[in-house]
Amino acid sequence: MTAPLLRVEGLRRHYASGGGLFGRARYVTRAVDDVSFDVMPGETLGLVGESGSGKSTTGRLVMGLEEPDAGRVVFDGTDLTSLSSSQRKPFRRRMQIVFQDPYAALNPRMRVGDFVQEPLLVHGAEAGPDRVAALFRTVGLDPAFMQRYPHEFSGGQRQRIGIARAIALRPQFLVADEPITALDVSIQAQIVNLFQDLQESMGLALLFIAHDLSMVRYLCSRVAVMLRGRIVEMGPTEAVFGDARHPYTQALLSAVPIPDPAHERGRKRLAFDAGGYAFPPAAALRDLGGGHFVLMGEAA
């Protein structure tokens, strides 16, 4: 068995809100609470959950865009959380991120060619126009677009530009934070196929954060389901989708609309109150065999 490329252990991030000049914080949001998972080289792990479940924060913590309150992010054997930002820089070549909103993800005052070139310059890599043009072609864009500004592009094209920037340094690992959510339906498949092509040609490992369960089922070999900052179920995609054990996963799967009228007419949705659900005491991920984990209390 090979070693995981990325190992996340006990990651925690709490946000304090409220409070003032002297008061201590009034509310604590457990954005990410004791999250652990591995990503193997070349593998795609799906991270699903609803808005506010902590999935995007997890991605940001993995990338070091936010500091965790506790826990470790180990990349290829090195604990990144203990590194200074200059020690961390070499790892930035090897792991990158693609964002959700293709409108906010590009600097509106920078030519897209410069934007794609920037990581090459920052890391002192070969950054000539040919290299940038090659990147444009890799993501299916005409290199003639390099001189243009972001507002001249459609959503799908912008997302391609964001991807070109992310893969410029040939990373081994990519966080894709809801990369298709903001796109039109007819464009989503283009981007998913692009991810697939890149994965095959570059051997990329992918942390695919999404709330579209059908897409996750299609794209990911393993999936982790998050609820209010915690992973409640994780395992090989078919195990989780075919034999969901956690009530939240079951409710989620029962609610996914399927484009098939006959199926939809017979559907029974399971009720689940995500906000009111109480985690059982001493809950921990327990192995059901075959790498399928479910968050359960001790009694179970």
Binding site: N193, S214, A255, P259
Partner: protein, 329 residues
């Protein structure tokens, strides 16, 4: 008889001195008791035409260029604003996409539900608030009497959408237009809202127009599906027939580009190439032709009319010069 019959509705938009006919001429009807699901991407004109019907389209930049929309025997577009106002919120209810912004943040929920009742049912504030509490119970919000005095920010997104539904159905409308009411919601909440809407529709015997971009949602709630692209109807018909046997390359592409189950090794999604047209410079002919691998030369020059599909169920119509089943075979 059709409760709502739209004939040749045409809507334009002006921006920075340029003009676009975002809806070149739309004709369709909704039968009483029917649920029509309108599917389309951004820019397909699905939301714009609904706003235009009710006189809610901001003009300018929008402009209604012509057509009729007969509701219950009267043309909404020819009606005075005062008469249209009597219908809005009364016999025609509407629900919008984003429950976070669709409610007034500085007024209590109770007042916002009570307003249409006072307006259309001549209730006093007191009566209206009593009724509002019942309506909250109807849309599944417990402890309604207490929650009436709360403000929108004290409600979650799903709860706010329930409040919007309570407002829309408060006067028991004959027609309910729902513009992407579940798009901004999480999957499980979307499921709850879909169930609630189906139940209310049956209980109040409402006719419904449900606008969405999600094929899965339409499959669940609609009797008839109408697929729109670039302001035109590409295909329309009973959901079972259209999903089982799509005749428009666009409908087919949309359905095929969605993932089904897990990926077979080496498998790829079928993708629709290109991107939606710029409505300020639309392609001549069939607007989908430039992205359509099945397009015939005629598609590029002449827009096809919406015609019945000969060998399908009644009501199944498609706008295409090509014969998709034959091309696929």
């Amino acid at each position: 008889m059709a409760l709502l019959a739209i004939e040749d509705l045409s809507v334009g938009f002006a921006r920075e001195g340029r003009f676009a006919r975002v809806i070149p001429g739309l004709t369709y009807g909704v039968e009483a008791g029917e649920t029509l699901g309108i599917v389309g991407e951004s820019g397909s004109g699905k939301s714009v035409h609904a706003l235009a019907l009710l006189g809610l389209l901001p003009q300018p930049p929008g402009r209604i260029l012509g057509g009729r929309a007969v509701f219950d025997g009267h043309d909404l577009l020819a009606m005075s604003e005062a008469r249209l106002r009597d219908l809005r919120g009364g016999r025609i209810g509407m629900i919008f996409q984003d429950p976070m912004t669709a409610l007034n943040p500085v007024l209590t929920i109770g007042r916002q539900i009570a307003e249409p009742l006072m307006r259309h049912k001549a209730m006093s504030m007191r009566q209206a608030l009593d009724r509002a509490a019942d309506l909250l119970a109807l849309v599944g919000i417990r402890d309604g009497a207490r929650r009436l005095s709360q403000y929108p920010h004290e409600f979650s997104g799903g709860m706010r959408q329930r409040v919007m539904i309570a407002i829309a159905i408060s006067c028991e409308p004959a027609l309910l237009i729902a513009d992407e009411p579940t798009t901004a919601l999480d999957v499980t909440v979307q499921g709850q809202i879909l169930d609630l809407m189906a139940e209310l529709r049956d209980r109040l015997r409402m006719t419904m127009v449900w606008i969405t971009h999600d094929m899965g949602v339409v499959a669940g709630i609609a009797d008839t599906i109408q697929v729109m692209y670039a302001g035109r109807i590409m295909e329309r018909g009973p959901v079972d027939a259209v999903f089982a046997n799509p005749r428009s390359a666009y409908t087919y592409g949309l359905l095929q580009s969605l993932p089904h189950g897990s990926r077979p090794p080496g498998g790829r999604l079928m993708q629709i190439p290109g991107c939606p047209p710029d409505m300020f410079a639309p392609p001549p002919g069939d607007p989908f032709a430039p992205r359509n691998p099945f397009a015939t030369p005629r598609c590029h020059v002449e827009a096809p009319p919406l015609r019945p599909v000969p060998d399908s169920v009644p009501g199944h119509m498609v706008a295409a010069w090509y014969d998709l089943p034959r091309l696929l075979a």
